[in-house]
Symmetry: C2
Subunit: 225 residues, 2 copies
């Protein structure tokens, strides 16, 4: 087995696993943009290597060794994203695609050098936690921005990193991780959300986002004033 393919599959399973506890073949195939039949084939090989546990027609789940590899790749990916942003000034909407390529060839030695230069960071430019070298990853209590209700105060924790256009748009709106926001209102029927960035008292700067944007933002709720 080619290790790049293995890493891509394990990483995809890891990401999909957060929503469902068992990842279904079609979801995996969709995510990797391969035919479901191809995913089945690869899944069987991964199961033979003990990287996933697999039940025919049911789905797939990472084993501990599979999860370890997934977390190593994710660590590489996020360290590289941050390094590209900090050291090479790559805009945050481009770092993901670059990191997708680099994550598979990063040596342990370079990983350590980058980690050190960045000062042992814990989150990437999109706010996602960087797993530790030994495979620990911070668990957070978050909500989708789309789940909030009128009046809620929250801090943006993380934005999804894989949609360049979305990221550029969020950048324009200045919706970065660590930004405090308040939900001013939610319109009935079409669920448009009016938001205010919090240090800003001027209601002229309120703006409206739709469901698609709102569900690409992870927040942590803050106590009301």
């Amino acid at each position: 087995m080619n290790s790049q393919a293995v890493e891509d599959y394990l990483k995809a399973i890891y990401k999909l696993q957060s929503s469902q506890s068992m990842v279904v073949t079609s979801a995996l195939a969709d995510h990797l943009k391969v035919n479901p039949a191809s995913a089945t084939g690869m899944i069987k090989k991964l199961a033979d290597s003990n990287l996933v546990s697999y039940e025919r027609y049911q789905g797939v789940k990472l084993t501990p060794p599979g999860e370890k590899i997934a977390l190593e790749v994710i660590r590489h990916h996020r360290l590289i994203e941050l390094y590209l942003a900090e050291a090479l000034n790559v805009p945050w909407d481009q770092v993901h695609d670059e990191a997708e390529k680099w994550e598979h060839i990063l040596s342990e030695d370079l990983e350590d050098r980058i980690d050190k230069i960045l000062g042992y960071p814990t989150t990437d430019p999109h706010g996602a936690p960087i797993p530790s070298r030994d495979g620990n990853i911070e668990q957070r209590n978050t909500n989708l921005l789309s789940e909030l209700t009128q009046g809620d105060n929250a801090i943006i924790v993380e934005v999804s990193d894989d949609d360049t256009d979305m990221l550029r748009y969020l950048g324009k709106l200045e919706l970065y991780p660590q930004t405090n926001i308040q939900i001013i209102s939610i319109s009935p029927f079409d669920q448009l959300i009016t938001i205010r960035i919090i240090p800003n008292k001027d209601s002229n700067n309120d703006f409206v986002i739709g469901q698609k944007v709102a569900s690409s933002i992870l927040v942590s709720k803050l106590e009301e004033d």
Copy 2:
């Protein structure tokens, strides 16, 4: 055709072409550590794509488009080597192996960013010239250190970059690019070369190198005092 394989073949042909004007199948196969039959197969595909010109049983030569790609890859390789050495403190005997992996995935955008950060450099850590973006590479008038004769003064221009152990050894001897040396003597029969590093007047620091080391160093002769 997988582009990594194509790039590796073109780069290898470029390097071998400097010694012979037509590269023979077995030399290419040796360099790439594949079976000669495999090289033949790939050569045919490269010829079909107009990247090399090929005569059965005679050998292979880069076409202009093939050379352009080769020089782009070499530019990537050398920029990355220098970047790793300068920005990430990777020791000079390790940068080659890392660069071998990174050269194939470097985007134009990142290439430019790295080039700029390094101040548009013209040589890599081993003294090899970095091709320009449009594919020009400095031609030099050099000799192998092993070709010099007693009394010659010379400056080290370049050392071969692909032998980790050799590089570590040269580092220990402080034989870096830009170092001035003098050939003190050459022993008969076994051709051992006694060398002095030139700002050093103390003959106690003279040392002896053999043919293998001497032929991994490119020098430019200096006028006698």
